[in-house]
């Protein structure tokens, strides 16, 4: 199986879906001539031309709305946001237009669009460029929210998202673009709403998604050295949420830590905890703990930024606590 970066896996998914379906087009800032701010769209303009790889002005609300409108009449746009931080300017189109169109029209008009781009913190980009927004969008009925953690999932989930008839918020990890991994060639599809056990274990479940999957795997490695057998469960989709996979894992391990990059208040982890306490309360041997980004705007200073982020020691500490070690 070929080894690809996360970036090239996304590129492959886009290329294959654009070859497969002439209604699929890519639109966003710098996606064409510049080849993508993060080079996800490299080579696509040459292959598909300017009508299908469309450079836009810096006008997030405007081109997100153009994508929704085009999807309402049957095209399948992939709208790239240079980052999800900038997409806040377009959130009205996602929440008020894309998410509600099918319902408001009693099923007459759907929005088969993908909105994608990097989310989460990179390195020292400061408060306005370092945010994880998956819980914002996951709150909204009508949207699906997808957060791939590996190159193979990036490809398989993007292909599924493009084929999905619903609006999909597809949040890539800004720090994952160079991550390498094996990626199946051709028709590799990962269904939305299916979590994945990235490491099997028996004593504690670490629920995570996107960039925190790699962090959790490092933590699990360290825990293994200390004799603790941790399971790492990658949600992959935040909405729909794979409740069954979460409950199956917790029923096996009886202990759980939920990690995410975002802020703690009303975060993704809160939803996971709610699911477990309602449906597997009697399986728990300890209260569930959450590890999140600090409840502050992201600071610029390197040490402060490190302190604000989820890292392996924080996950290890939480695991030790739920194991009463």
């Amino acid at each position: 199986m070929p080894t690809l970066t996360y970036r090239d896996a996304l590129n492959q998914a886009l290329r294959e879906e654009m070859q497969r379906d002439p209604d699929v087009f890519l639109m966003g800032e710098e996606v064409g001539v510049y080849q993508g701010a993060y080079k996800v769209s490299r080579g696509l303009l040459d292959e598909f031309g300017p009508m299908r790889v469309v450079d836009t002005p810096i006008t997030e609300l405007g081109f997100a709305g153009v994508g929704v409108g085009a999807a309402m009449v049957g095209l399948r746009p992939v709208i790239e946001f240079m980052t999800w931080n900038f997409a806040l300017l377009a959130i009205d189109q996602l929440v008020n237009s894309a998410a509600k169109m099918r319902y408001m029209s009693a099923g007459q008009v759907g929005v088969p669009a993908v909105f994608r781009g990097p989310g989460g913190a990179a390195l020292q980009l400061g408060a306005q460029h370092s945010q994880a927004f998956e819980s914002f969008y996951a709150h909204v009925p009508g949207l699906k929210v997808v957060t791939p953690a590996t190159p193979a999932d990036a490809k398989g989930l993007l292909k599924s998202s493009i084929r999905d008839d619903n609006p999909v918020v597809f949040i890539e990890g800004e720090m994952l673009y160079n991550l390498k991994g094996e990626v199946p060639e051709g028709e590799h599809i990962v269904p939305l709403g299916q979590a994945d056990i990235k490491r099997a274990g028996a004593e504690v479940t670490i629920v995570c998604h996107s960039k925190t999957v790699a962090v959790a795997l490092k933590a699990a490695e360290q825990l293994a050295n200390e004799g603790v057998d941790a399971e790492v469960l990658d949600l992959r989709s935040i909405r729909p949420l794979d409740r069954e996979a979460i409950l199956t894992s917790v029923t096996k391990t009886h202990r759980c830590v939920v990690a995410e990059e975002g802020w703690p208040f009303a975060g993704v982890g809160a939803q996971v905890v709610d699911t477990i306490q309602r449906e597997a309360f009697d399986e728990l041997d300890a209260p569930i703990l959450r590890v999140t980004g600090a409840d502050v705007p992201m600071p610029y200073n390197k040490q402060l930024e490190r302190a604000a982020k989820v890292d392996p020691p924080k996950i290890v500490a939480a695991v030790n606590e739920v194991l009463y070690r």
Partner: protein, 341 residues
């Protein structure tokens, strides 16, 4: 301005073509239907039969009727939340619109959309939208799709003059002009964004001039004269369909009622005299008198038409009143599509 004034004068001074009398009478009937429908909707709202917000179109009928008459069956239409008139003029039945206002299953969006979200995809009628200006990019996306597929369709977007101070308006019009999209933007300038007069909200008075920022064709149109409206729309549609160029039409009209049913007719923001003065150019009277003057109708025919319209509206009211509520299961239907492509 000069060009459009000249065009307007030509349209007014030209005698009506008797060969088109049926179409002309059809416009009058549509305007009357909208008027009587809205009167009935206002009455039903006062009786508590219609809930939520209810924005009436009374006074602006010639805009929807004259402009929609210039479209083809495959064209796309999006509107703001003051869209009962457009829905009726596009051909959604009075029954289906009234039932929607009543929140009934037989409504054009199954009782889920309500007054502000009327849809009929089979007619290309893609919504009433409730966020000021937000549907202007949507229409632009539909125009993009028409160009992408080379279908010769035109996307038309109706919005009030208050939307032009909103970023969505500028972002969308810039892209439409930049990419040469087949769109027609119809700004229904009824002088007030809720209770704020145009000159208290916009740094320039002539909204049509905003098109100059995007090097976009534009016209000022008398929205109280259905013939003038139709002629201007034909020019804009032609420009979109054959030249792939967008147009901004600033249509000067007036809302005879309050912003919504919970708003008084004149309130603190405009005088009773102003409203009465504007009512002298009632688009229905303007057009019926013209048809009578040119002997395409007589008084008796106008009265008979009004009577038939009132019967249609009464039928719609009775239909909506007696129609069943949506099933309880409808609550969770249509949130997501199940199928994948």
């Amino acid at each position: 301005m000069t060009g459009s004034t000249a065009a307007r004068t030509r349209a007014r001074s030209r005698r009506l073509d008797p060969a088109q009398a049926d179409e002309y009478r059809g416009w009058l009937r549509q305007m009357m239907l909208i008027r009587r429908f809205e009167e009935k909707a206002g009455e039903a709202y006062s009786l508590g039969r219609i809930g939520g917000f209810c924005h009436l179109y009374i006074g602006q009928e010639a805009v929807a009727v004259g402009s929609l008459a210039a479209l083809g069956p495959d064209d796309y239409i999006t509107c703001s939340y003051r869209e009962h008139g457009h829905a009726l003029a596009r051909g959604i039945s009075a029954r289906a619109v009234m039932a929607e206002l009543f929140g009934k299953a037989a409504g054009c969006t199954g009782g889920k959309g309500g007054s502000m979200h009327l849809f009929d995809a089979s007619l290309g009628f893609l919504g009433g939208h409730g966020i000021v200006g937000a549907h202007i990019p949507l229409a632009t996306g539909m125009a993009f799709a028409a160009k992408y597929r080379k279908t010769q369709q035109v996307a038309v977007c109706y919005f009030g003059e208050a939307a032009v101070n909103n970023g969505a308006f500028h972002e969308a019009l810039n892209m439409a002009a930049l990419w040469k999209l087949p769109a027609v933007y119809i700004c229904e300038n009824n002088r007030y964004g809720m209770g704020t007069a145009l000159e208290r909200a916009s740094a320039i008075y002539d909204i049509s001039e905003r098109a100059c920022s995007y090097d976009m064709a534009n016209e000022v149109v008398d929205g109280q004269d259905v013939l003038v409206m139709h002629a201007a729309m034909e020019r804009a549609v032609q420009r979109a369909r054959t030249e792939e160029q967008p147009t901004l039409l600033e249509v000067r009209t007036y809302r005879f009622m309050g912003h919504s049913m919970s708003d008084p007719i004149h309130g603190h923001y405009r005088t009773r005299e102003e409203v009465e003065d504007q009512r002298k150019r009632d688009p229905i009277t303007v057009w019926s008198q013209r048809l009578i003057a040119e002997e395409l109708m007589d008084e008796a025919a106008v009265k008979a038409m009004d009577k038939s319209v009132m019967e249609e509206v009464e039928d719609a009211y009775q239909f909506a009143d007696q129609a069943p509520e949506p099933e309880a299961e409808a609550l969770f239907q249509d949130v997501y599509a199940e199928e994948q492509r």
